[in-house]
Amino acid sequence: MIVIENLYKRFGKLEVLKGINMQFNAGEVVSLIGPNGSGKTTLIKAILGLIKPDKGVITVNGATVNGSPAYRASIGYMPQIGRYPDNMKVGQLLTMIREIRNTSNQDTQLEEEFNMDLLCEKPLGTLSGGTKQKVNAALAFLFNPPVLILDEPTAGLDPLATEILKAKIAQEKKKNKLIIVTSHVLSDLQELTTHVAYMQEGRLIFKKDLPTLQRETGEEKLGLAIAQIMRQQKNTQG
């Protein structure tokens, strides 16, 4: 569904993406992981067209990114920190996004489970970080998009909300959607992940499915498997 070819991006002197080649397919739940500053968020922003790559091509469902913005209709994006106009009310934000998307194919499940109707009259500036995160999640899932990109989705959410979100991801996974999740809290999403993509210093080190990864590292738990790989990386470098 998403094909990334030979992607390069530098910010001034800092080379953030150094030739990424990657493919994401429908039905995958990909955990995009890597140390801080490895280029995860930059890669996601490039897919969304928020960042213009220096070199390389990204296609989403056959449409090249950097052409018409229409391809973004098939992507639901949950940003790391959502900041909205302080004076806008939650209800207005939801209405506005509905007007922009202008589609009848709506999925209000998260909106209901997070009790957004109780927040409708509250200005977004008064919401706590976790509550904003709930708004973000509700917005990302609202249009039943075939691609979901979640940037650190569980950061700041309380345990109850995390469980609701996890259940929702599991449900969407069954619908053969592509779900890309960046997260440093591995155990949170371990049971949902089908593939792991590991990035380091602007390069994709590997993208493997979970059984392969478990076999290769001999670790059952995803967290331990990743730790094992990070250690190996360090050894080969040092």
Partner: protein
């Protein structure tokens, strides 16, 4: 387009600064007309205020609004919306709110106390100046990633157009006073929208006699219909050009 603009406008109106600005303009304008017996004198005082306050408020307000809306703009860009549309929605939201404040604060009293050619031209040039300085501020904010730098640039623009430029012009005229400078002065005044606005209104008020020989030339040129169209055209260019540059940068920008 209008859908997004509506929400931008709503957000701006909710933070009350624009309303405060409108009230401030209204008090000053109505006050001046009350104090001065002669409405043309009041307009002259009003002109000084309009030419100082209007550009400053437009620049600073636009800059702060842009930086405060940064994450919101990012959210819009993650939706199936083009960058041009998002930027123009922000622009029109700002234009509608600041123009609204100007017409409420200055427009109403002027139309009430002095609904003549001078009053109307003050309102038209004031509106155009608002557009010009919103465009400029949008241009600098899109360029500078850092908020402090953006506000600094906006202030610098204001200092340049309201103080520094006149100083340079005066120095130039003084140094080259032995040469015929009429055409050049005409051209140089077009390079500063504030000067241009001032000249247009001064000429309408018949105080151009105070401006001596240059005033006569201005009168000769700007006084006729052709001159007025030229001035308004140049002001519109001053609004369109920075907006175009801002758009060009915004299309290529990394968010």
């Amino acid at each position: 387009m209008m859908k997004l603009t509506r929400y931008v406008l709503y957000d701006i109106l909710r933070n009350k600064i624009v309303l405060l600005y409108a009230a401030f303009l209204f008090l000053i304008t109505a006050g001046l007309f009350q104090l001065e017996e002669n409405s043309s004198k009041a307009i002259l005082s009003l002109l000084t205020i309009v030419l100082t306050v209007l550009p400053l408020v437009s620049l600073i307000f636009t800059t702060i609004h842009y930086y405060n809306s940064y994450e919101f703009i990012e959210l819009m860009l993650a939706q199936p919306l083009s960058r041009t549309r998002v930027l123009l929605s922000e622009y029109f939201g700002l234009v509608l709110s600041l123009l609204g404040a100007f017409w409420l604060g200055v427009g109403l009293p002027v139309l009430f106390y002095s609904p003549d050619a001078i009053g109307i031209s003050l309102l038209i040039t004031g509106s155009l100046l608002t557009l010009v300085f919103i465009s400029m501020a949008l241009f600098t904010s899109v360029h500078a990633r850092d908020k402090a730098k953006g506000i600094g640039l906006a202030l610098l623009l204001w200092f340049y157009f309201s103080l520094i430029y006149d100083g340079i012009l005066l120095m130039l005229l003084f140094a080259l006073s032995d040469y015929p400078m009429e055409k050049l002065t005409l051209l140089l005044s077009a390079l500063n929208p504030i000067d241009l606005a001032r000249i247009v209104i001064m000429l309408k008020m018949d105080v151009s006699a105070l401006m001596g020989y240059t005033g006569a030339i201005y009168k000769n040129f700007f006084g006729n219909a052709y001159g007025t169209i030229f001035t308004l055209g140049v002001l519109i260019l001053w609004a369109a050009f920075p907006l175009g540059l801002a758009k060009r940068k915004f299309l290529k920008k990394d968010m």
